[in-house]
Amino acid sequence: MKKTAFLTVFVAIISFGIKAQNSNQVSARLSFNQLELGYQRTFFQQKIRGETYVGLGNQDINKKFDDFVTGLRIGTPIFRNEKNAIHIAAGIGFYFSNNDIYSVVTPVYSGFIAYNRFLGQSEKHSLLINLGYQYGENDYKQEYNSADIYTATTGSFTVSPVYFSVGYGFHF
């Protein structure tokens, strides 16, 4: 729980503490298992973009959108024209399960293609589509103790390997 709080505060500081400037983007993305809010900025004459995100997931055993996700993504453009941009990107992050059955923090690694479709003439708004692969797996242990028995077992939490999200980005 302390780790969750630490990362939440840290990401929030980053998201709100940086001065607004061009080449920044805030976004909201929705996938089958995740809802994310992200902050992105570009570096090195827009050749590299970095993004932090926080969000909710529903991949643990209770299937409720009450798990916490956070992470960092870095990408580079492979195509760009007036209305479209395509990046390849890699990500690292954490998935914090939240249920009554087990507790596990799972590191998640991802690689994906990100497509931006700029809307309107000002390039302030864009449609975001990400498609890729992610890997996250971690073991956990469960125990039960009573006057009659002690029992224990292990399980494994796995993040869905397919990552597909659709979202909206605001550039400033």
Partner: protein, 240 residues
């Protein structure tokens, strides 16, 4: 920029730390009982989702202890859905036909008159856990293990229909198993008596449960079952 770099370093350091200590293992000590469930050919069963897409579902199951007189002692493990009424989109169907023998042996009647744990009152004894897609190992220590105990297990797939338990059987028919989202083939039951001082034991299939979940009887005319008989490969019990 500086704070962004610090964040990156923090994330990387955290990931390295987590990745290096992610393996959880059971620590058996002298006298502990190891229960190993080996999956069978039909451990995973196609469950339709939509538009012809299906997913491979593992079975619901429970493992529990009784004394040799048939008195329930404790659940060791029960799958999450049956233990917490954790079904997705079940439209109120409590699936009483899922593991009726275990339910009746426990003998706990809930507010709706059924013997299944509810969302409000989930199972409180034993471990409730995710249904494994592969072999499962449990560590068990029995307090005051001076008398023989009976280890029992019950396994069930939903919509596992066959010619004896068809989808179109009507409520009241002998082969009715809960309708189109019911069990199909009823739950299969395994049991074995573990004596103090024994070294190993393999649970044997002793029958199957009530198809519609209305009683806690064991039925032994196994020829009515087909794929249900190979949900489980083997259940091996060893004393460390």
């Amino acid at each position: 920029m500086k704070i962004f770099n610090q964040y990156l370093i923090t994330m990387l350091a955290g990931l390295v730390g987590f990745s290096s200590c992610s393996k959880e293992e059971l620590a058996f000590t002298n006298g502990d009982v190891k229960i190993e469930i080996e999956t069978g050919e039909h451990w995973l069963h196609d469950f339709p989702l939509f538009l012809g897409i299906s997913k491979k579902n593992p079975p619901q199951f429970a493992i529990w202890l009784e004394d040799t007189a048939g008195n329930y002692i404790s659940t060791v493990f029960a799958t999450y859905k049956i233990a917490t009424e954790g079904w997705q989109a079940n439209n109120g169907n409590r699936r009483k036909e899922a593991l009726p023998y275990w339910c009746h042996q426990r003998g706990v009647v809930y507010e709706d008159g059924l013997m299944l744990p509810t969302k409000a009152n989930p199972l409180t004894d034993g471990i409730s856990g995710a249904t494994p897609k592969e072999n499962k190992t449990l560590q068990l220590s029995i307090r005051n293990f001076t008398e023989p105990v009976v280890i029992k297990a019950e396994f069930n797939h939903s919509i596992d229909f066959n010619e004896f338990y068809p989808e179109d059987a009507k409520e009241g028919d002998a082969n009715y198993s809960g309708g189109d989202m019911g069990s199909g083939q009823p739950a299969v039951i395994y049991a074995g008596t573990l004596n103090p001082g024994a070294k190993e034991l393999e649970l044997q299939m002793i029958g199957y449960s009530s198809a519609d979940g209305t009683n806690g009887n064991i039925y032994t005319d196994m020829e009515k079952l087909s794929t249900a008989k190979t949900i489980v490969g083997k259940i091996r019990v060893t004393i460390e």
